[in-house]
């Protein structure tokens, strides 16, 4: 019962179901607090915070180009975020979305370059989708099986597999899959045209965004309206009740990890087929990790993930614009992004938990009186 001095006389209590209104207010207040804090830092380093914020906002959302770029970044964040969310629903802490994304990209590239390079687009794109979901799914399956049958922590195994996947991708593009005409520049040859996802007008927004939106709707339906979704919910909320009801625990762990990986894999496919048109280095600037934030801030809700992915993408694009248009030091944008995220996550904790003033040792008696 010993507590740090700061919390003396208070205890932290979980809010059973935060009212929607307070969530909105706290989110806005968190954003505001972040902007004020970031503004202080900017002012201290001799910049005008208002100019910078304005530049960020207009960079991300101020014109069609900015909005389009934000949507481009939304796509992988959304797909990988959905993958993370479905696993987290079952209390499976899959933090391997990054590796699963890479493996999806690898399998999609394999399909486009070596397995069916001559196929027409209406066939090749679906084949690449399937390949990417199989690749990402397999990469999620490994920690799933290790967890289901050997009790190995999926946090550790899925994280370690990220490095394996990224290094394997590096091996392919430096070795067997390297484009011989690229003058030693690492990367596979460009995909055949049929493998390119259609784009929206002159922007870089591509069909992958639609994959993300459809996946969000399907996932919502799956979790909400199917027996399997119900089982995932029960297993996540009370595994012992799931055992009591005779639900197939091990099988569901494996399948959910595979589904989680498959969605991240689809994010990888949409990046290579929609943006790069080849498998290259640094395919993802950490989408798989940002996906964890997306899932968490969305409270693991598929539709919420759409919104959060868009906001996070706007933050990234706004920051990038800053660097380009104002020529600010490279560290400013990540500092602001970090500040905003930090405050948002902090505010999120405030909506989930609250501080309650206590009379001393109240904890003991509430434990006693808790209904069995």
């Amino acid at each position: 019962m010993a507590e740090p001095g700061l919390l003396r006389g208070y205890r932290i209590e979980r809010v059973p179901s935060p009212p929607r209104g307070s969530v909105a207010i706290i989110t806005v207040l968190s954003l505001l607090a972040a902007l004020i804090f970031g503004g202080l830092v900017l002012a201290l380093s001799g910049e005008n915070p208002l100019t910078i914020y304005q530049a960020m906002l207009s960079g991300a959302l101020g014109n069609w180009n900015g909005v389009a770029e934000t949507l481009v970044k939304t796509t992988p964040l959304l797909l990988a975020g959905l993958g993370v969310a479905v696993a987290f629903r079952m209390q499976l802490w899959n933090i391997g979305a990054e590796g699963q994304l890479y493996f999806g990209a690898i399998f999609a590239s394999w399909m486009a370059l070596y397995l069916a390079p001559g196929a027409p687009g209406w066939l090749l794109v679906p084949l690449m989708i399937v390949a990417a979901m199989v690749g990402g799914g397999l990469w999620g399956l490994v920690p799933g099986i290790l967890r289901a049958y050997f009790g190995a922590s999926e946090i550790i195994t899925s994280l370690m597999l990220n490095y394996v996947a990224i290094l394997f991708s590096d091996y392919l593009i430096h070795g067997p899959w390297r484009d011989p005409q690229a003058f030693g520049f690492p990367g596979t040859p460009a995909f055949p045209d049929a493998a390119w996802l259609p784009r929206w007008g002159t922007t870089r927004v591509h069909l992958g965004l639609l994959f993300g939106l459809v996946a969000a709707l399907l996932l919502w339906f799956l979790l909400r309206r199917t027996r399997w979704g119900y089982e995932i919910g029960v297993m996540g909320e009370n595994p012992r009740a799931a055992l009591y009801a005779g639900m197939p625990m091990a099988r569901t762990i494996i399948l959910v990890m595979a589904l989680s990986g498959a969605l991240a894999g689809l994010a990888g496919m949409s990046e290579v087929a929609g943006i790069g048109h080849q498998l290259q280095r640094n395919l993802s600037p950490g989408y798989g990790y940002a996906a964890i934030i997306v899932a968490w801030l969305a409270r693991l809700h598929p539709i919420g993930a759409v919104l959060v992915a868009f906001l996070l993408a706007a933050l990234t694009v706004g920051g990038d614009q800053l660097q380009m248009s104002l020529g600010l030091p490279a560290a400013i944008a990540p500092m602001l992004q970090g500040t905003i995220l930090f405050f948002l996550l902090g505010g999120d904790i405030l909506t989930r938990y609250r501080l309650v003033k206590r009379t001393p040792a109240l904890a003991a008696v509430t434990r006693e009186n808790e209904p069995a």
Partner: protein
């Protein structure tokens, strides 16, 4: 230690305590004299624990005050209360298992600097133990002690710290009948020495045995205070609930027990052995049979294999030897879902930990057994309409008080949670019902409803394995009672005509042969 004072030892005046909109104590006046055992009785949620937590310094009242010996006092913490001589023994002991008795006692002391001065403490504890009949080896580690001895440590600790007013929160709930008797003698002895003892309980026999004065709390108010002489269980029960109850114990002579038993064996266990949480055998060669229409009660002090028995029968724990058959079918080590589909209903020991999902809504909880069957399931999909119908009818049929099917389960009271769970489990007309502490932590009204439902099932021809720590409940509902001790069945006795004392001896591990000689 006598207190020559006309003022009551303790007086609580006009105490009001609210939690949000709930008034837990409403203008309560309560007093107890020196040298008196004062029992505080009431249903769950009547406000007993809140009132005593105020006395022990855990809560501060919203209104009203406490007097000791006629002097108003204010407590900011339990330590303040102890300094004024008030100490509380909780149901769950606050002891560190790996520490010795003396080490546990000094934990509550703040004087004496860095040195623990254990020899001094040990000597003092030995003296106190001798004076008050609470002998415990001060150097023994807590884990080496029985539950009854651990409780003595709690009492000794309070005496050591100078408490003169001792509050006991349902102290006999964890004890064997023998240990309970010994405790009651100790409490009488303390009162005779001038201590004030406040005794919270809902076991009315015990209250009548130990108390000088009885106060009854109902819905946060004291409804009566009377001497124990001249009242009886029936009057107390009536005051507690505010109406007459169906007698808790059925009159055995009028009970149509054997009438329902048809002779078909529904559950049979042959030499079943299983390993418990701690890796040691929790069930040792358990054999028993239950017939259709029969209720087999299982008695025993907590932790003697009853929980594991329920778990192996329902598929939540693996057996290491032996065989389990349900209606002739071998279900040994089959998955829980398959056993449930074979017609086994399970009211588990800890409903929120096992049988329900507190964070999900009522419909998600209602469909836990049936979600895979039509009409709830339409292929891989769940039919929202069917789920809503199913839940609403369950709520209506079993009188579950809830704002609606969308309410989170955790927001319901314990009794309503249990009614929902029981209703769900009984809805499939089960052949076997495994009910573990079905009325623990639920109020008397819900208890009656649950008992009635179990009786109805028995009349319908269901076999019931009823595990309970409440002997009255077992005697009222069972045809036979199996007593467990240390993972084995010590004996199976008919519920009718068996002396509860005999069951108590079996619970303490005294085999029938030994009783005959001793």
């Amino acid at each position: 230690m006598s207190q020559p004072s006309a003022a009551p030892a303790i007086a609580m005046r006009g105490i009001t305590k609210r939690f949000g909109n709930v008034v837990a104590n409403d203008q309560v006046d309560f007093s107890a004299a020196w040298g008196e055992v004062h029992a505080l009785v009431g249903e769950n949620g009547a406000g007993k624990s809140t009132l005593m937590s105020i006395l022990a310094g855990l809560y501060r009242p919203d209104d009203g005050y406490v007097e000791i010996d006629g002097q108003p006092v204010q407590f900011r913490s339990p330590r303040d209360a102890i300094a004024h001589g008030i100490g509380m023994v909780y149901q769950h002991f606050m002891l560190v298992d790996t520490f010795s008795v003396a080490e546990n006692v000094v934990m509550g002391e703040r004087t004496g600097g860095v040195s623990l001065q254990l020899p001094r403490v040990e000597q003092r504890l030995a003296e106190l133990g001798e004076t008050y009949g609470l002998e415990v080896d001060p150097r023994a580690r807590i884990w080496q002690l029985s539950v009854g001895e651990q409780q003595r440590v709690e009492i000794l600790r309070l005496l050591y710290l100078g408490a003169r007013i001792l509050v006991f929160d349902e102290p006999t709930a964890v004890l064997t009948p023998q240990e309970a008797h010994s405790l009651i003698r100790t409490l009488r002895g303390l009162a005779a020495q001038g201590f004030t003892v406040i005794f919270i309980s809902h076991k009315l026999d015990e209250v009548l045995e130990v108390a000088d004065q009885i106060s009854i709390l109902r819905r946060g108010r004291i409804v009566a205070t009377m001497p124990a002489q001249g009242t009886d269980r029936r009057e107390l029960a009536r005051l507690m609930v505010g109406r007459d109850l169906a007698p808790i114990v059925e009159d055995p002579a009028h009970s149509p027990r054997e009438a329902t038993i048809t002779g078909d064996t529904i559950l049979s266990l042959r030499n079943v052995t299983a390993i418990g949480e701690k890796g040691v055998p929790a069930l040792k060669q358990v054999s028993l049979e239950i017939q259709a229409g029969e209720t087999l009660g299982v008695a025993g002090v907590a932790g003697n294999g009853q929980s594991e028995l329920a778990e192996v029968v329902t598929g939540l724990r693996r057996t290491t030897a032996g065989a389990i058959h349900v209606a002739g079918r071998d279900v040994t080590n089959r998955p829980a879902g398959e056993i449930a589909r074979a017609g086994v209903a399970h009211v588990p020991e800890d409903r929120l930990a096992t049988g329900l999902i507190g964070s999900m809504d009522l419909s998600a909880n209602a469909i836990l057994r049936e979600y895979g069957q039509p009409p709830l399931a339409q292929g891989p999909f769940l039919s929202s309409a069917a789920v809503a119908n199913f839940t609403d009818s369950l709520i209506a049929r079993h009188d579950v008080k809830a704002p609606g099917r969308w309410a989170r389960l955790r927001t319901l009271s314990g009794g309503n949670q249990q009614k929902l769970l029981l209703g769900r489990e009984l809805s499939g007309a089960p052949r076997l019902i495994v009910a573990v502490h079905p009325t623990r932590g639920v109020d008397i009204g819900a208890t009656e409803a649950i008992h009635a439902a179990l009786r109805e099932q028995r009349a319908r021809g269901a076999a019931t394995l009823l595990i309970s720590e409440d002997l009255d409940e077992l005697l009222a509902l069972s045809d036979r009672i199996a007593v467990m001790f240390d993972g084995a069945v010590m004996g199976i006795v008919p519920a009718r005509g068996t002396d509860p004392e005999e069951i108590g001896l079996l619970m303490a591990g005294v085999a029938p042969e030994a009783t005959a000689h001793g």
